[in-house]
């Protein structure tokens, strides 16, 4: 009995009654190692003595958290949209003002605070469509096939929701690369879909081999109904940039096997390696001719969180759907309406991203410089990371061709593997936890992304400022040597 004579009752929501799919959801990027990192930061603040003075968080692709500066022009336009009185302020350039005015005119009541239609402000979808046409050398893009979303993640989950159905042998199977970005595995777990793993080839720069796709698909057909193929290009966590040939092969495979293609292209501007180039799935699809471009169903995803913008906190993004059955598209449109609308500041940001300053505009010079500097810095850090990691005995790292991460293979002594298993931890988690406790560096163990059996990796971002990055890499070197020696 409680004080007021209330009978203590059993709870409604317990581990037995909660949605079981929710329990199986894991997201390594923010998982236990990050929780421990936050705890350590608190301990440092309270004055606890550690072998380091700060925790360096190289676990999450959060550019601005690691010091990358936002693009001035974008922030000016957003400020003008938020507080239109600033349109009278002479310190803001005219090109920023004209874009802000244009965006506000497309908003209800001229305000970022009004709901937009669920699919996203029409004018912005038109602008996005034109951006895609320019990017893809003129391949037509219909604004009605564009869905603005709360970051790319939200659109990916919505599409998956639409794709997942059936029970038992007819349960939807979704092909995803191993290693993968754990949003996919989390979403599939939550939806109760079957995850079909296809392995990227570590020995060949993490490239995708269609034979491996075929193998994975055949195996999966025995226990589910494969319906979709997800591909991340440039890759996360692996950083590989797929060749044009490879993209064609994947499209051909998807056409043969009647698979829905989901192309996650959020890192499309993050391409560093010589000889590598971003090819959008849409463009390649259309260049393969009507046999493919009129039949293959494709959803491509992009966002304002990565590339040179790094605006994760704004939750701006879109997806483009191609060859979607009209009835299904109607269902998609209705499904997105349940979320009411994507955040309007994110929509506004996306609009400026696809409508950046032009050569004849006042902000052009600054804009181009900021963009180039940011991308050049990332390229430089990619190269440094790759070089230094490959110099460490026991660590082997593929070229960081694109995106923002490195996913090196780490050789772990047998003793360490055993100790980890005794503790019930995956060996790379064991390794990363020790790295965190001893050096204050927060990475994500490869087991969070998937990897071949008996191989171990970690994912590190290349985002810390150059000098700090070098220090981090140095500490990893020290740690790896000690760790190897300790467990020999």
């Amino acid at each position: 009995m409680t004080e007021n004579g209330f009978k203590q009752h059993d709870r409604v929501l317990t581990m037995d009654t909660i949605n079981p799919n929710v329990i199986s959801v894991e997201y390594a990027v923010r998982g236990p190692i990050v929780q421990r990192a936050l705890q350590i930061e608190k301990e440092l603040k309270m004055g606890m003595k550690k072998p380091f003075t700060e925790v360096i968080k190289a676990n999450i692709g959060d550019c601005q958290a690691m010091g990358q500066k936002p693009i001035t022009f974008f922030r000016q336009v957003l400020a003008l949209c938020s507080y239109p009185d600033l349109l009278e302020d002479s310190r803001f350039p005219d090109d920023a003002k004209s874009r802000a005015r244009r965006i506000l005119q497309a908003c209800g009541g001229g305000s970022l605070g009004a709901y937009s239609v669920s699919q996203g402000i029409e004018m912005i979808r038109q602008d996005v469509a034109q951006y895609i046409e320019r990017r893809d050398g003129g391949v037509t893009c219909d604004p009605d096939n564009i869905y603005l979303s709360t970051g790319a993640s939200n659109a990916i989950v919505t599409m998956l929701k639409l794709l997942v159905s059936g029970e038992g042998a007819s349960r939807t199977g979704v092909m995803i690369s191993i290693p993968q970005y754990p949003l996919y595995s989390a979403a599939l777990a939550e939806l109760g879909a079957v995850q079909i793993n296809y392995y990227l080839d570590e020995d060949h720069c993490w490239s995708l081999d269609v034979n491996e796709l075929r193998r994975a698909l055949q195996k999966a057909k025995t226990h589910c109904t494969p319906r979709a193929l997800c591909i991340i290009n440039p890759g996360n966590p692996t950083g590989q940039v797929q060749s044009r040939q490879c993209i064609e092969d994947v499209i051909r495979f998807a056409a043969e096997e009647r698979l829905f293609l989901m192309a996650d292209e959020v890192y499309q501007d993050n391409v560093y390696a010589d000889g590598c180039e971003f090819h959008s799935f849409k463009k390649v699809l259309f260049e393969m001719g009507a046999e493919y471009s009129e039949t293959v169903e494709l959803a491509s995803f992009h966002s304002t969180s990565k590339c040179y913008m790094g605006e994760c906190g704004f939750r701006g993004g879109y997806m483009e759907v191609v060859n979607l059955d009209p009835e299904v598209k109607a269902q998609l449109t209705k499904l997105v309406s349940v979320r009411l609308c994507p955040p309007v500041p994110g929509q506004a940001l996306l609009d400026v991203v696809v409508n950046p300053p032009q050569p004849d505009e006042p902000s052009y010079g600054t804009f181009i410089k900021e963009r180039s500097d940011t991308l050049a810095a990332l390229a430089e850090k990619a190269a440094i990371t790759q070089k230094i990691l490959n110099q460490i005995p026991g660590i082997k790292c593929n070229p960081v061709q694109g995106a923002m991460y490195t996913f090196p293979r780490i050789h772990l002594p047998q003793k360490a593997i055993l100790e980890a298993k005794e503790k019930g931890e995956s060996p790379d988690m064991f390794y990363c936890m020790k790295l965190l406790e001893e050096k204050g560096i927060c990475l994500v163990p490869g087991s969070g992304f998937g990897q071949r059996e008996e191989t171990y990796h970690f994912r590190m971002t290349i985002l810390p400022p150059k000098d700090k990055l070098k220090i981090v890499l140095g500490k990893i070197q020290e740690f790896h040597q000690c760790f190897t020696a300790q467990y020999s």
């Binding site: 998982g31 957003l78 507080y83 709360t150 939550e190 209705k334 500041p345």
Partner: protein, 474 residues
């Protein structure tokens, strides 16, 4: 032909296309007007949703100034912005990783903002403690509700589908969200004759009925109500809590209109406060949002939910689950902070801020009075007293001839009324059939949060149409 036609049945059944007829028609008329086709009016007046800014209510200056300074920190040096604006922006930026609103935040929201929210709640409830650990920032209350129902959902393999008791009438988006998640809706009727009150006997009846077809796990209540504008008395809240305790139900309480009160003596009681006074251990999740109140920042997507009396292990899983939620937009989190912690007397921005809030409140209050007066004078239309929220849910006493006419057109009478109202006067309001209503009753919902001149125009158009309608079908 795409295999996708075999689409998940729930997603397919979730939506009735009827609801879109009005919006599509409104869009068509707007296009026609733009192309110069003359109608009896110059524009469509959209009163279909609780979106203040789109209806001409201005955003609050303080909020927009802080937002601008957060987006473009060069403004922190700008002395044209009041000091408290700059201080607030500075302190918010300090809480962001890398000092930027472009960074990811903690999954459940920026810690300092959650602390601010818990203080707000505690202060609102006369000192009842609130812990930031129990607070989750969300991208609006709709999102919070969807997450909660997701937790309750059981797959088709389990013996009983999860059910949630929902009020009739209830606002459409929430019903859509439930259906999309595969939750069974167990309706309970609000009592229109008594001002849309909630009768506990009706809850008992609904629950008994619900238990024959599903496993009801929760009861959803909107207080102040949407679309009804009703505010629950303290007694009624106590009864509901008692009911939830006895029948083992989780409480999902949507309190987004808690700041939209028009009586001289505010009569709003939060469920949290009453729960605490009763010493009850019933599981409670309360929702609030920056979309409503007099901020009306729907587009920023900011809200929060507070979970009380939940199992600690379950709470941990909820936190884990939030990691995949990919964070509420920082713009929304800032809006929530400003909602929980607005300018105070003595702050430089306070005079303008309070004037703007009062002005909006008075505008809506005046609109309510005008609307009630006009409706009182019209035959065949009436409404219950409006205590809170933005909407009037007016009862249409549809003449039998009109019901016949609607039957012949195979449409709900109130939908047909709305279509004709739209076509003939350019007024876009929503029909009661979209919200649920007692059989053989009909209603329309209008949003009253608009400028007074617009409201007057709306009421004249409605009056003209309605009189003609009643005459034609007498």
């Amino acid at each position: 032909m795409s295999f996708l036609k075999k689409i998940k049945p729930v997603a397919k059944n979730a939506f009735h296309s009827e609801k879109d007829i009005l919006s599509r028609h409104a869009a068509r008329i707007t296009a026609e007007i733009q192309q110069g086709e003359r109608k009896g009016y110059n524009e469509v007046l959209n009163l279909s949703s609780g979106d203040l800014h789109s209806m001409g209510i201005k955003p609050l200056t303080f909020i927009r100034q802080v937002l601008a300074a957060c987006f473009y920190p060069a403004l922190l040096q700008d002395e044209c912005l009041p000091l408290d604006v700059r201080e607030r922006a500075k302190s918010l930026l300090k809480e962001c990783e890398g000092g930027s609103v472009g960074s990811y935040t903690d999954s459940s929201g920026i810690a300092k903002i959650k602390q601010g929210v818990s203080k707000f709640i505690s202060s609102r409830d006369g000192g009842v403690p609130s812990s930031p650990e129990n607070i989750f920032l969300t991208s609006g209350s709709q999102r919070g509700l969807m997450i909660m129902v997701k937790l309750l959902f059981q797959s088709k393999d389990s013996s009983w589908q999860t059910g949630v008791l929902i009020p009739v009438p209830s606002y459409a988006s929430f019903n859509l969200a439930l259906a999309a998640q595969g939750i069974v809706m167990v309706p309970y009727q609000l009592c229109e004759e008594q001002g849309w009150t909630l009768k506990v006997e009706e809850l008992h009846r609904a629950l008994r009925s619900g238990r024959t077809t599903c496993n009801p796990m929760a009861i959803y209540i909107c207080n102040p109500g949407n679309p009804t504008g009703h505010i629950q008395s303290k007694e009624s809240i106590k009864e509901v809590i008692q009911f939830a305790a006895e029948e083992k139900l989780l409480l999902m309480i949507d309190e987004v209109y808690q700041n939209c009160l028009y009586g001289d003596r505010p009569e709003f009681y939060s469920y949290k406060k009453v729960l605490s006074e009763m010493g009850s251990t019933v599981e409670l999740v309360s929702f609030n949002s920056a979309s409503k109140g007099f901020m009306g920042e729907c587009g920023l997507r900011g809200g929060y939910m507070e979970l009380v009396n939940f199992d600690p292990t379950v709470m941990q899983y909820i936190r884990n689950f939030f990691y995949t939620e990919h964070t509420t937009p920082v713009s929304g989190q800032i809006a929530v902070d400003l909602m929980a912690n607005p300018p105070k007397p003595g702050d430089p921005s306070f005079p303008i801020f309070s004037e703007e809030v009062e002005s909006t409140r008075n505008t809506i209050r005046n609109n309510i009075h005008r609307t009630q007066k006009v409706l009182d004078e019209l035959p065949g239309i009436s409404c219950q007293p409006l205590k809170g929220g933005f909407f009037v849910f007016a009862r249409l006493h549809v003449p039998p001839k009109a019901i016949e006419w609607a039957k012949n057109r195979q449409m709900e009478p109130d939908l047909l009324y709305c279509l004709h109202l739209l076509e003939e006067t350019g007024l876009h309001v929503r029909p009661g059939c979209e919200f649920g209503q007692k059989k053989d009753t009909h209603h329309i919902r209008l949003c009253l949060a608009t400028q007074e001149e617009i409201m007057e125009d709306v009421l004249q158009r409605l009056k003209t149409f309605h009189l003609r309608f009643m005459k034609e079908f007498s």
